[in-house]
């Protein structure tokens, strides 16, 4: 038992002692700050019709717990779903495989360390919710239980289940991370659609939030004296200028079956791990994925003639960026599995055939998001592949190599968007086609800057996911490709942001080059 705890502890430390985790915590802190809007803010997070609760302990506790449960279920999955993959890439897995640890113990340790990572983020949000209570205090008494209760019964069991799902998905889908992410995304959307009506059905809600949301709705229904409340909004609604009316929310008393169900969800999670453990590859990955007889290169024992340097033709100087561009494009194209290109082609076909608005607002952001794996390491692949000594000591690494890396990624995105751009140009909608062009540059620069800052892929992956999710849900604020209606300054604003990102990209790389 002692050694098992040690494994979890060390795995947790390994994951949290990174620069990117520090950034994740800072971002969590910043996002948590917005969970309960400042009294005069023009946005809302949870609003029932025109009502929000008085800023008492229960409102802060329950609202932040619900939003955390939903958002961290989605984003948290992407943050933690590479624990086993990391063990493969660092080759620690091979060492683990040679030890006596059982599959179940190893996988369960991964679940628990995933869970601890999520708990750390929850801890940050929890502290922020208390700080916000004292910041926006409406004169209500601080009741610690109203903060603790919703987190314990709603958020924590949800996070445990997400920690289990992350491990299960890693085993089932292996290195197909795009499939993994997409399936989880649709599973999440499906679970969010579930609308329980009674206590038993509440217990089937994995995220555990529906019981509180219905209680909030019912409270407001009683106030405004109607039977249906259609305007319960959960999530960020911007430019919500209409002043909200206030109602008293004093928390809820959870039914026993609900409390029991939260515990049962944890047990189900452990059970799933026990069921899947025998199917774990135990790091025998290469043999499973490739056919060694076909792909393995044999070492030729017969030696060919030695190099006579003096007789080798000398290559001439050629500072053209074209050969670099060619290989950068090759690296991008080969990055994902070949079948991803079939999906890309389907996406391009949809951009050609679907009504322009749908193609622009829905298909384009999804098609671009599918390239997340290619984009996320534009400027970090040197570090991840350990080729940075070659790149950083190359000739003019800033003006040649970095520029080419950016060009190639922009070209890829524009190629994928080309059916839409052509259609927009044919419709003489030059401003929109320019916005798509600008959007491509923006997302590539965002990927580069976030990659260089965090020295990893995760930050951009999560950010890109959030941006795409928000765009699909029609949140105009995060539209980076001109899909929605904007004021006349939109292209200028986007250009300025892109320019800032571009400058940051060169500045950071220059700083890195100086060692």
């Amino acid at each position: 038992m002692k050694s098992f705890i040690k494994i979890i502890k060390l795995d947790y430390l390994q994951r949290t002692r990174s620069y990117s985790f520090l950034i994740t915590l800072c971002v969590s802190l910043a996002i948590a700050y917005t969970f309960v809007p400042e009294p005069n803010a023009t946005y809302s997070t949870i609003r029932i019709d025109d009502y929000v609760g008085y800023y008492n302990s229960a409102w802060f506790g329950y609202v932040t717990a619900i939003i955390t449960s939903i958002t961290l279920s989605l984003i948290g999955f992407f943050l933690i779903n590479s624990g086993i993959k990391t063990d493969i890439s660092t080759r620690v897995g091979q060492v683990v495989a040679a030890t006596s640890i059982s599959n179940f113990k190893y996988l369960f340790s991964k679940v628990l360390s995933n869970f601890l990572v999520l708990i750390t983020i929850i801890g940050i949000v929890f502290i922020m919710s208390i700080i916000l209570f004292f910041l926006y205090n409406d004169g209500f008494v601080f009741e610690p239980l109203q903060f603790i209760k919703p987190y314990i019964f709603i958020t924590i069991p949800s996070m445990f289940f997400i920690a289990v799902l992350a491990v299960v998905f890693e085993i089932v889908f292996g290195k197909y991370s795009v499939v993994q992410n997409c399936i989880f995304f649709f599973l999440f959307l499906g679970l969010m659609q579930f609308t329980p009506k009674n206590n038993f059905q509440y217990s089937l809600d994995i995220f555990g939030t529906k019981i509180v949301m219905n209680e909030l709705e019912n409270t407001v229904k009683k106030i405004i004296n109607i039977n249906s409340t259609e305007n319960l909004s959960i999530g960020y609604v911007l430019k919500n200028v209409k002043k909200a009316k206030k109602f008293h929310f004093n928390g809820i008393s959870f039914p026993t079956i609900y409390l029991l169900s939260r515990f049962i969800w944890i047990l189900i999670g452990v059970g799933i791990i026990a069921i899947i453990a025998p199917f774990f590859h135990r790091f025998n990955v290469k043999e499973k994925i490739t056919k060694p007889t076909k792909n393995k290169v044999s070492i030729v024992k017969e030696f060919s003639k030695e190099i006579e340097l003096i007789n080798i033709p000398k290559a001439s100087l050629n500072y053209s960026r074209f050969p670099l561009l060619k290989t950068e494009l090759l690296l991008l194209i080969r990055k994902d599995k070949k079948w991803m290109w079939i999906i890309n082609l389907i996406g391009m076909l949809l951009l050609t055939l679907l009504p322009l608005t749908i193609a622009h607002q829905m298909v384009l952001p999804i098609l671009w998001f599918l390239q997340v794996n290619r984009l996320s390491d534009i400027t970090t692949k040197e570090i991840t592949n350990n080729t940075h000594y070659f790149s950083f000591s190359s000739f003019k690494p800033l003006s040649r190599l970095l520029v080419t890396q950016l060009y190639s990624s922009i070209l890829l995105l524009l190629f994928l968007a080309s059916p839409l751009i052509i259609r927009l140009v044919i419709n003489t909608n030059f401003l929109l086609s320019f916005s798509v062009f600008l959007g491509g540059i923006f997302i590539v620069l965002l990927a580069s800057v976030l990659g260089m800052i965090s020295k990893g892929k995760k930050l951009f992956e999560v950010m890109f996911f959030m941006i795409t999710y928000a765009n699909i849900n029609g949140i105009v604020f995060v539209d980076y490709f001109g899909g929605f209606e904007h004021n006349q300054f939109y292209p200028v604003q986007l250009s300025i942001i892109t320019l800032i990102l571009g400058s940051a990209c060169f500045f950071i790389r220059n700083y890195q080059l100086k060692g």
Partner: protein, 287 residues
């Protein structure tokens, strides 16, 4: 060709130095850089390769300060880092073409040059297979190949023989000797036998400082006449270690044959011919 490293230091924090006030002048030929792990060899080489910058001091190549004009060095540099990776989805030819483009070389001779280098490094048969499927030694040879692409005038090899089998090591040594006719070769290792057969000059480092620098004979002379061989009981070993510097031991029945360095040898000891390994062990122990 002249590379001058003047009072170079790399300071990580208040008390920790990777390299401290290091000065050396390197001219055409092979410089063997020896030192135990953590001596600062890789730190120094990364600075010469313009991958890292010193916190103090200057590095001058042919009167050009490469800290101000890094591209002057990069144009004529071939660098094989100690711990490098490759892009697994590219094959060796594609990877080398990419490296060539990074170095700013091309033209019609590039392909034949790549092919001949690959042939010389025994990689031609696997040249069109993804590097991801290569063994460690093959990847190391791809690394060596990229260092030779641009007719380098300064070649830096940091622990180059890692993963190479004995035959490949011999071929590699021949290659380096060939290279050194025309340029500066800096070869770093903590394995003395990699260096003693080919290096014109040797620099020995420890704890970020230069202990000694010169040709092999001068360095060896420092302990000439102080290397001995004797036979002792296994039980005496601990005590023996405290009094002498042991170079190597070998087991023979219940006895141990010991090669050691001392100014006060045991009575039954036989004086042995001194070599670079003896000098290296002696100098790194006493400094």
């Amino acid at each position: 060709m002249k590379l001058e490293i003047q009072n170079v230091s790399k300071k990580y924090n208040r008390n920790k130095y990777g390299l401290k006030d290091f000065s050396i002048t390197i001219e055409k030929g092979i410089l063997g850089l020896l030192g135990p792990n953590g001596a600062g060899k890789s730190t120094l080489l990364k600075m010469i390769a313009t991958v890292s910058k010193p916190t103090e001091g200057i590095i001058i190549l042919n009167k050009n300060n490469i800290l101000k004009d890094a591209n002057y060095m990069r144009k004529q540099l071939g660098f094989l880092p100690q711990d490098f990776g490759v892009y697994p989805n590219l094959n060796a030819v594609e990877f080398l073409e990419y490296m060539a483009a990074m170095k700013g070389i091309g033209g019609p001779n590039l392909k034949p040059r790549i092919n001949q280098i690959l042939e010389g490094l025994n990689l031609l048969d696997a040249a069109h297979k993804p590097i991801g499927s290569y063994s460690g030694g093959m990847k190391q040879r791809v690394g060596i190949a990229q260092a030779l692409l641009n007719n380098p005038k300064i070649v830096i090899f940091d622990e180059p023989t890692v993963g190479l089998d004995p035959e490949e090591r011999v071929r590699f040594r021949n290659l380096i000797s060939d290279l050194a006719n025309d340029c500066i070769v800096i070869l770093s290792s903590h394995i003395v036998s990699d260096i003693d057969t080919i290096a014109d000059k040797v620099a020995i480092m420890k704890n970020g400082t230069l202990i000694t620098h010169g040709n092999q004979e001068t360095i060896i002379k420092k302990i000439q006449g102080n290397v001995f061989k004797t036979s002792i009981d296994k039980t005496q070993l601990a005590d023996f270690k405290n009094r002498h510097i042991i170079v190597s031991t070998s087991r023979k029945n219940e006895k141990l044959n010991v090669r050691y360095i001392s100014s006060q040898p045991l009575e039954n000891s036989i004086k042995k011919e001194t070599n670079l390994e003896d000098a290296y062990l002696y100098l790194t122990k006493i400094n």
